[in-house]
């Protein structure tokens, strides 16, 4: 399964970034091969719709599940439509969270917030 998680820096030992759509990077992790890579989040500087663009990018990379602290409504609509599973991140590093997910220790993200629109980039 291809996993993605928002991260503050390009390291699997970094904590999960609290923002899904405006995180600087995503960690991509393949649970079958154990390979990982980091993606620059081109949506981070968007004036608006960062969550939509970020979700599109992850869907394009074939991501099947994400681990995130929270997720806005628009991004969740894209991820749901693409049948990407959403898991609620816990305290700890990306590696900790991946291990927890493998052991069935993460729950599905149930709360989708209405979005933090216009809080990044240039204000409209």
């Amino acid at each position: 399964m291809k996993l993605a998680a928002p991260v503050e820096s390009k390291s699997l030992d970094a904590p999960i970034c609290p923002s899904f759509g405006r995180t600087p990077y995503y960690a991509l992790f393949d649970t079958e091969t154990g390979n990982h890579e980091f993606l620059d989040n081109s949506a981070a500087a968007s004036q608006g719709g960062a969550g939509i663009k970020a979700a599109q990018m992850l869907v394009d990379h074939g991501v099947e599940a994400i681990i995130t602290c929270r997720c806005g409504d628009n991004a969740a609509q894209v991820l749901n439509a693409a049948k990407v599973a959403m898991y609620k991140a816990q305290d700890g590093t990306v590696t900790d969270n991946i291990e927890k997910l493998k052991n069935g220790g993460l729950s599905h993200l149930s709360e989708i917030h209405p979005g933090l629109h216009n809080h990044g980039g240039v204000k409209e």
Partner: protein, 278 residues
């Protein structure tokens, strides 16, 4: 002459000043641009003569023509579109109606669709024509309604534009056509701070302006201090008057009920007209 009435915060008396100013004129047009919560009609009680729908243009996809080239998704700087394997998702509340996606689609899979976001009501209240913009619940931006309202302003009559509170995009649209801006301020520190925000705005727009100090009590008035410090013209001082509160709570227009306030607002109108023509 077009007069915009604005303030940095809600509850300072924009609607009070706008409604009374319009009613003090021989003949005027009152425009309620506070589209999220228009309330001038509560006082003017206009007889509605026309109700018009305001719509924005958004894209609509014909998936039988879409080849998945993503030109529309990549073009949209607001990220209002997402392309999944078999469907194009369109986020209408993110769309700014620029029409770029429709122009760029090589397959002509996108077409224009009208989506209603609110209404404009036209009515009459004695000597005042009332235009009320109203944004539908749940909509993000009332700017298209303001733009539509601005198209309807007559060139010759006295026009009073009751602006939304604050100094954001929607306020900028509301004052764009104005010949003069009246800033309404409360006698509090918070009031003075928010007066500072709209003061910056009208300076940026290079509009002639003056301040109406509302709810004035004896003693220190931080908004008055702000005006004196920045050499801002104070047009009128409206006292904190329980009689005004009583008239307002009954939904009455003070200049139509009280000779004292009729005179105050006639004088204000005269001052503004003189300043605007300078």
């Amino acid at each position: 002459m077009k007069i915009a009435v604005l303030s940095g915060k809600g509850g300072t008396g924009k609607t009070f000043v706008s409604v009374n100013l319009a009613c003090a004129a021989d003949k005027a047009v009152y425009v309620d641009c506070d589209v999220e919560e228009p309330n001038g009609h509560l006082f003017l009680k206009p007889e509605i003569t026309e109700k018009q729908s305001v719509a924005v243009t958004v894209p609509e996809a014909d998936m039988s023509k879409c080849t998945g080239c993503r030109k529309c998704v990549d073009f949209c700087k607001y990220n209002a579109l997402a392309l999944l394997r078999d469907r194009l998702m369109i986020f209408y509340e993110v769309c700014h109606s620029c029409g770029g996606c429709i122009l760029f689609c090589p397959e002509k899979a996108l077409s224009k669709k009208q989506r209603e976001i609110g209404t404009i009501e036209t009515g009459v209240s004695d000597n005042v024509t009332v235009l009320t913009g109203c944004l539908n619940t749940g909509e993000v931006s009332g700017v298209p309604i303001i733009k539509e309202l601005m198209e309807k302003l007559p060139e010759k009559d006295t026009v009073v534009i009751d602006c939304p509170p604050g100094s954001s995009c929607i306020v900028m649209e509301s004052i764009r056509e104005a010949d003069y801006c009246i800033l309404v301020a409360e006698p509090t520190l918070f009031g003075a701070h928010n007066l500072g925000m709209v003061y910056e705005l009208v300076k940026l727009f290079n509009k002639p302006f003056g301040v109406v100090l509302n709810k004035c009590l004896p003693g220190e008035n931080p908004s008055e201090k702000f005006c004196r410090g920045n050499k801002i013209n104070i047009l009128a001082e409206i006292p904190y008057d329980e009689n005004l509160g009583r008239l307002n709570s009954k939904g009455l227009v003070s200049v139509r009920e009280s000779g004292q306030y009729h005179e105050l607002f006639r004088n204000l109108l005269y001052k503004v007209a003189k300043e605007a023509l300078q």
